[in-house]
Symmetry: C2
Subunit: 199 residues, 2 copies
């Protein structure tokens, strides 16, 4: 037993399964924590316990929250008639960090996949259509990933939306801010050229 105690070994094994960590970095993290066992480690244990107990999905949009309704769905200022459809909570977090969107979200929790037997109900698409009808939504922004799966799902939603005066939009495709043309893939360059705009 190289690493001190059974619990330490179990902790390293568990840490090594986290995304982006492996056995080497897990050992480093655990040793760092053991050195700070009375402060950082105890605090981390308590926060993990607390978040594990209190976290749940917002009943309206699927966002991670500690209440029935997340802070975004509960904020009356965000009932501006816009709803942004994302694949994942991580995408919602990314959009919120951008501070550009002031409406509400709908989290699909994945993309349509015949192979994995993920259908429209698994993604809450009927619930989305209900929300659009009920909440007087004017614009639906399909902020799905620019992958085949994301775009297939976007087209499915587009077809499934009721005929009404809801505008459906997607994120612009083009050169990322700070991006150098030389390093961009051909598809992005072509898309940016086709969608060129006047100065």
């Amino acid at each position: 037993m190289a690493e001190g105690s059974d619990d330490i070994q179990a902790l390293i094994a568990l840490m090594a399964r986290l995304p982006g960590l492996g056995p080497r970095s897990a050992r480093r993290v655990v040793l760092h924590l053991i050195r700070k066992r009375s402060g950082q480690m105890t605090q981390l244990a308590r926060l993990l316990e607390s978040v594990a107990t209190s976290s749940r999905e917002c009943l309206t949009c699927g966002n991670i929250t500690d209440r029935d309704t997340c802070a975004i769905c509960a904020d009356p200022a965000r009932a501006n008639g816009e709803i942004c459809v994302v694949e994942d909570v991580a995408d919602l977090w990314a959009l919120e960090r951008g501070h550009a969107f002031r409406g509400r979200y709908h989290i699909l929790g994945g993309t349509l996949s015949a192979l994995d037997e993920i259908g429209p109900e698994d993604l809450g698409i009927p619930a989305l259509i209900d929300r659009i009808r009920r909440d007087n939504i004017r614009e639906v922004i399909l902020a799905l990933n620019a992958t085949v799966e994301g775009q297939t799902t976007a087209h499915y939603i587009l077809d499934a939306l009721p005929d009404s005066n809801v505008t459906v939009t997607g994120l612009a495709q083009g050169v990322p801010i700070g991006g150098e043309l030389d390093y961009l893939d051909d598809g992005t360059i072509s898309a940016a050229l086709r969608a060129r705009r006047r100065f």
Copy 2:
């Protein structure tokens, strides 16, 4: 508040301070854990709490353990007259993974440093000399890092050891297993050439 709740944000901030993690990877890890909140996350919280409570330093060698005396110091088979001096618990773990050393350890917990006011007492060097006298040690292996600080500390220990029939050795320096000469630094190549051996 982009990330769900105050606790989630605090958890991400705490995770981002772990070695090798930053804000982006901390968010990824926390989201992964929230998805597995009833299993992996609760288990991680409990193990962290348990390791934080039970971990302490072995009174003899400084290894991390959950008892007064670590498994290595308690194992009579390892009283073979050899003691291996390392800077850090991570170095002990690395040596144990190599399965080549069957004696006991002494962890310094750092290197001598005038700048940081770390003297021989802070590294337990007097205690090491006591152990060498008391435990009939035949060989002291100074497995310190091949850095200036590590080598300075090694020379200090060498001078401080009592005149006796204790053999003092250091790790061999040379080409790492699987190493390509082309990618090695000049110092290592020169050291390997000077320490060349007959086939």
